[in-house]
């Protein structure tokens, strides 16, 4: 069996600078493994250890996605090998385009039984790419996944749904996004990092995938920085907690907040 674990090498918007015109400057935001991805890796690894499956990390991102640090970070966390596209043209790609590139990479791998992904990426944070990928592959896309196991017919998964839990059986391919606490990701030790350097990495050229251009044309008309100016910004140094607390509570009462 083959399990694909999707991941994203992405910067944290927390570290980005935004100018008053809303232009985002990412230079001070270093890219790293997106926060929820190790959960999917862990679930994939646990499944693979029980079934003898192979865990293949797949990503489509900017050139940094192919860096030595990016490769080792992923391959030291339970992933057996990588198949990736690293092309700066993908940095601003929309969810449907990224999903098309990922679908194309997954088809190149050959027989894949299931795709696992974290709930969303740290930068775009939409949770859409994996669900659109399911549609590209013609598979079912399911969210809220907590556990999966192999059965004679295919897979059995547990998932969170509004108001409770569900167990499903799946035959044929599926794209599954995991809940953030589905598994506790491992910490990579020195031995994992050394072993990671020897694992195979297949870097595919974007142009070799032949992903067609989108029909819908999206043109950016304007950008802006959300206005934070309406806040009062009254900052009290509270070395005298009683006086400081009384001051703030009094202000809240005067504004009829309390």
């Amino acid at each position: 069996m083959r399990v694909v674990a999707l991941y994203k090498w992405a910067p944290n918007p927390q570290d980005a600078q935004v100018d008053p015109e809303g232009i985002v400057d990412w230079r001070r935001a270093t890219e790293a493994l997106s926060e929820y991805d190790p959960v999917a890796f862990e679930l994939a690894r646990g499944f693979a250890d029980l079934t003898g499956a192979e865990v293949i990390g797949v990503t489509a991102g900017g050139s940094a996605a192919s860096s030595s640090l990016a490769r080792k970070t992923v391959l030291s966390r339970g992933v057996d090998r990588l198949v990736l596209v690293a092309d700066d043209r993908l940095k601003a790609a929309d969810s449907t385009t990224l999903a098309a590139v990922l679908a194309s990479l997954i088809r190149r791998i050959g027989q894949v039984d299931v795709v696992l992904a974290g709930v969303s990426s740290v930068d775009v944070n939409e949770g859409q790419v994996s669900m659109t990928l399911a549609a590209h592959l013609g598979w079912i896309g399911l969210g809220g996944i907590r556990a999966l196991e192999a059965t004679d017919q295919g897979l059995r998964v547990d998932r969170d749904v509004p108001g409770g839990r569900e167990t499903l059986t799946l035959a044929g391919g599926a794209v599954l996004t995991t809940v953030a606490d589905a598994a506790v990701p491992r910490r990579a030790g020195m031995r994992d990092i050394l072993a990671a350097a020897k694992k195979p990495v297949d870097v595919v050229e974007l142009d070799d995938l032949g992903v067609p251009a989108a029909h819908v044309v999206v043109s950016r008309v304007a950008t802006s920085r959300p206005d934070n100016a309406k806040r009062q910004h009254v900052i009290v140094e509270a070395s005298e907690p009683a006086a400081a607390a009384a001051q703030v509570i009094s202000a809240l009462r005067q504004r009829n907040v309390l």
Binding site: P13, Q14, A16, V18, I23, V24, D94, S95, T96, A100, S120, V124, N125, E126, G127, Q128, M131, T132, L133, A134, A135, G138, G141, L142, G143, P162, G164, R165, E166, T167, L168, A171, G172, A174, A180, D181, H215, V216, V218, S219, R220, V221, A222, S224, R225, N228, Q232, H233, V236, E237, A238, P241, A244, A245, A246, V248, A251, R255, V257, L258
Partner: protein, 311 residues
């Protein structure tokens, strides 16, 4: 600006799409609802004053709603609306993802406005968890939007007839067991007062301190993500953030929370924000109305005392 935009709404077996219908009605021409799931859901949506309700038929009990994704995409592809709205749940995203592939365009999220500028559909949305905002025009296909679905629909007189169409869901996924969880007693999004606690708290036992503050304020208790998904001191339903609860209280008091972007996205609609943090450089102080710089273990009891003092 802003003439009619023919809009289709995708319903994923949950009739609580009042927010979607309201969003659409502000600029709709014809409003069509495509309902995947139970007949009862289609019947409820039909009361909401939409022009057409297309129902994909009663699914077998074991069929998850996501199995209807290809059929929803086919119908939208044939209907060619200018805008498609669906709920920003995982089921909604699965259906919208199929629509996006069929139509060859992206799914947009966190959209605050949709309008017609001349002949072009223009939307306004937030980027990267709220650090920037943009306006974009969408040509050559529908604008596909995943939005908070809102509450129950508001009935508006005579229901629209429900049109049933032939649809074959995917058959490779079957629900074999359903279990309802304990009812979640907390409703953070509609709470008028919220106290949030973060990693500034040193031990789970110290939550009693924060609960005293919440009681004194008459507030619901929320938390930042590490407390719900890191150390499990708080249930996940109480976590405020971009992938958790979005709150809009009259007062949000954030205690021991640094104010990471992902947290603040869920709290930004609060009318007044009070922050308590020992780090004067914590980003939350840039986003608050009142900030108390100091040790929460000394400030919280002082706040409780001040609240108990008559005005």
């Amino acid at each position: 600006m802003s003439a009619a935009i023919d809009t289709w709404i995708i319903v994923a077996d949950d009739a609580a799409v009042g927010g979607l219908i309201e969003f659409a009605r502000m600029r709709a021409g014809r409003l069509v609802a495509v309902v995947a799931g139970r007949k009862s859901v289609a019947d409820e949506v039909a009361t909401a004053g939409v022009d057409r309700v297309i129902w994909l038929g009663q699914p077998p009990e074991a069929t998850p709603v996501e199995a209807f994704a290809p059929e929803v995409a086919r119908l939208v592809g044939e209907g060619l609306p200018r805008a498609v709205l669906g709920p920003d749940t995982t089921a909604g995203r699965a259906l919208l993802g199929a629509v996006a592939v069929r139509c060859g365009g992206p799914v947009f999220t966190r959209v605050s406005a949709l309008e017609l500028d001349g002949d072009r559909v223009v939307l306004t949305r937030i980027l990267f968890g709220g650090i920037a905002e943009c306006r974009e025009s969408v040509d050559g296909g529908p604008a596909i939007l995943a939005l908070p679905s809102g509450g129950h629909v508001i009935a508006t007189g005579i229901p629209t007839p429900v049109e049933q169409v032939e649809a074959s869901p995917m058959t490779n996924a079957e629900v074999v067991d359903r279990r309802s969880a304990e009812l979640v007693s907390v409703d953070l999004p509609s709470a008028p007062m919220v106290v949030g606690i973060g990693r500034g708290l040193k031990a789970q036992a110290d939550l009693t301190l924060i609960e005293e503050l919440a009681t004194a304020l008459g507030a619901e208790l929320g938390c930042s993500r590490p407390l719900a998904e890191g150390v499990d001191w708080m249930p996940k339903e109480r976590y405020i953030g971009i992938s958790g609860q979005h709150i809009a209280p009259r007062l949000y008091m954030a205690v021991g929370i640094s104010g990471q972007l992902q947290h603040m996205f869920g709290a930004r609609d609060s009318e007044v924000i009070v922050a308590v943090n020992s780090d004067a450089d914590a980003p939350i102080f840039a986003e608050c109305d009142y900030g108390l710089v100091g040790d929460l273990y000394r400030i919280v009891p002082a706040l409780v005392a001040a609240l108990k003092t008559p005005r």
